[in-house]
Amino acid sequence: MPTINLGPASRRLGGVLLIAFLGAALVFFVMRAGHGDPALAALGDQATPEAIAAFHKRWGLDAPLVVQFWRWLSGALVGNFGMSMTVAGGVPIAGLIGSRLPNTLFIGFYAMAIAVAISLVAGTVSALYHGRFIDSAATGIAVLGISMPDFWLSYVLVYLLALGAGIFPSYGFVSPGDSLAGALYSGFLPAFAIAAPMAASFTRILRTALIDTLYRDHVRVARSLGYSGAFVFVHYVFRNALIPYVTVLGLQVRYLLGGTVVVERIFGIPGIGALLVDAAFGRDYGLVQACALTFLICVLIVNFLVDLLCAALNPRAT
């Protein structure tokens, strides 16, 4: 294994922190700019000026915006996002997110694992047999997969596999903290609904990357040396196609996590996606901010890890 150079990694980490900070600022200021006064939302349009003033004082909304931002950010840094104003009536936001984040991460990783597993097999097979029937069939299924948005696919799956065949539950999710097997079972349909369109695009990327590599000079050289087909494929073709594949995987994480929002709603999974929707309906701006920022940070962390993986895979990166 090539050693990981810490210089570029720490520089990248700096970039991640900068973007996280910008993200926090964006979430905070855009929210305030768009919706002047959280008090009106919480108390309704008929609220008296006194009640509004009292609300402002209670939530610290009478301070200048920059000060409010600083308070919010410094709180967020130590895991204190304040209280949820509406949804759960005074529950700490951090606690809400902390209890729900594992479910979302579980579904996210589960979906990623399914998408990667499908695409590794389908991408490899269609690249090896490119131009033949099996490749056309895989490509056709992939295009259909991309054309099935997750919320629509969810219902097809529920109809066929839950209500129809009765193999999977249609609703209700066992948290991975309670039972990993239960979470894998009850989370399969939602994870698959998110994974299917991802799997389709991963398959295409892997297929293209493999075919591209298949015709590169170094593969012909390896063949000329008489290495076995499997050896050439694994070490010369697949190993080099892995770099663009993993890069795209990292780019798609944001779509994958975005997919959890709707699917959590449909399958009744208590994750931060469903929480975000509740917060949006309740106009609980503090909670919306916190959920959006949590999603952002998840993407940034995963992308950072993917970057490190790419650097380890590609000796030319450093």
Partner: protein, 325 residues
């Protein structure tokens, strides 16, 4: 000199599927290479010289089709072998050095990895395992003139220069101890000084191993330097073949003469370069001479009669109707 032919190629034909049509790249090429001989294949780009080399090693993409009366290697007809049987010979008996040393290496692996697997393959075929592969790899690199093999072994391909990589590639190929090496313009991408060194290196290693070399090039000076015998190709056919000195000093075919004149004109830095008329690779009518469309000495019958290779000297043949007169 031609006491024992290592490989004899009879009527090799290679064509490519382009859409629904087939385009012929090699049109019936026959030659033989003796043990320990360096045989040059010369021609412009598109003449079929590279495709000839790739055809022999079965390295063409699936849309190519190769067909030959016989490709006899040490008495065994390679054309009859299955892909698996042929693969057993690749590398350890027949090997190739490619034009682009940078692209020839797996970019994700170190030079050491490449040499390790080449050495492992030879040992697996020979059924012997003598000593540490690392020492052998380092020795092989020293043999090709790399003074600090440890550093090169630890390097990734992108960290080395083209000349260094070509040396390492040659080291990798000779660590397999092949008896026939096909070298496809291995010095074209290198600067003059390095080219000279690599040529000397190939010559030295070839002598040391007692291997034969099929040397593919467009450069007459390089061919004159390294080859024992030469075949000149035009539009998929061999138009002249013979001992290197004879072909280069007394070429008989009008195309070979033109090629040589151009080369000499370049060497003399003439104000007006001698130039063969017409577009490179243009073929004459299928029933006539392939060079008729560009030949300065073309005669009416050239367009209707196919010339055959005729003897024009000891071991020297040429494909031109002028020789019949």
């Amino acid at each position: 000199m031609t006491e024992a032919a290592l490989i004899e190629v009879a009527n090799l034909r290679t064509s490519f599927a382009v859409g629904r049509a087939r385009v012929a790249a090699v049109r019936g090429v026959s030659f033989s290479i003796a043990v320990g001989e360096v045989f040059g294949l010369i021609g412009e780009s598109g003449s079929g010289k590279t495709v000839t080399g790739l055809s022999l090693l079965r390295l063409l993409p699936p849309h190519a089709s190769v067909d030959a009366e016989a490709i006899r290697f040490r008495g065994q007809d390679l054309a009859l072998l299955s892909d698996d049987e042929f693969r057993a010979l690749q590398g350890v008996k027949l090997a190739m050095i490619f034009q682009d040393p940078v692209g020839s290496f797996n970019p994700a692996k170190t030079v050491a990895w490449h040499l390790k697997h080449a050495i492992a393959r030879r040992r697996a075929c020979a059924g012997t395992g003598e000593g540490d592969w690392r020492e052998e790899a380092a020795q092989n690199l020293r043999d090709v003139g790399i003074r600090v093999p440890e550093r090169v072994l630890a390097s990734y391909p992108h960290q080395l220069s083209g000349g260094m990589l070509q040396r390492a590639l040659i080291a990798m190929v000779i660590s397999l101890r092949p008896v026939l090496i096909i070298a496809d313009e291995p010095t074209t991408n290198l600067d003059n000084l390095v080219e000279r060194q690599i040529l000397d290196l190939i010559r030295a290693q070839q002598r040391k191993l007692g291997a034969s070399v099929l040397y593919v090039t467009h450069d007459l000076a390089v061919a004159g330097e390294i080859c024992d015998r030469i075949a000149v190709m035009y539009a998929g056919e061999i138009v002249e073949m013979g001992p290197a000195r004879d072909v280069l000093e007394r070429p008989r075919h009008p195309y070979a003469q033109g090629l040589l004149q151009t080369s000499a004109s370049l060497e003399r830095r003439d104000e007006y370069l001698y130039e063969l008329q017409g577009e490179p690779g243009v073929r004459g009518a299928p029933e006539g001479c392939c060079f008729a469309a560009r030949c300065p000495q073309v005669m009416p019958k050239c367009r209707s009669t196919q010339p055959r290779l005729v003897n024009v000297g000891p071991g020297h043949v040429s494909r031109c109707l002028l020789h019949d007169q």
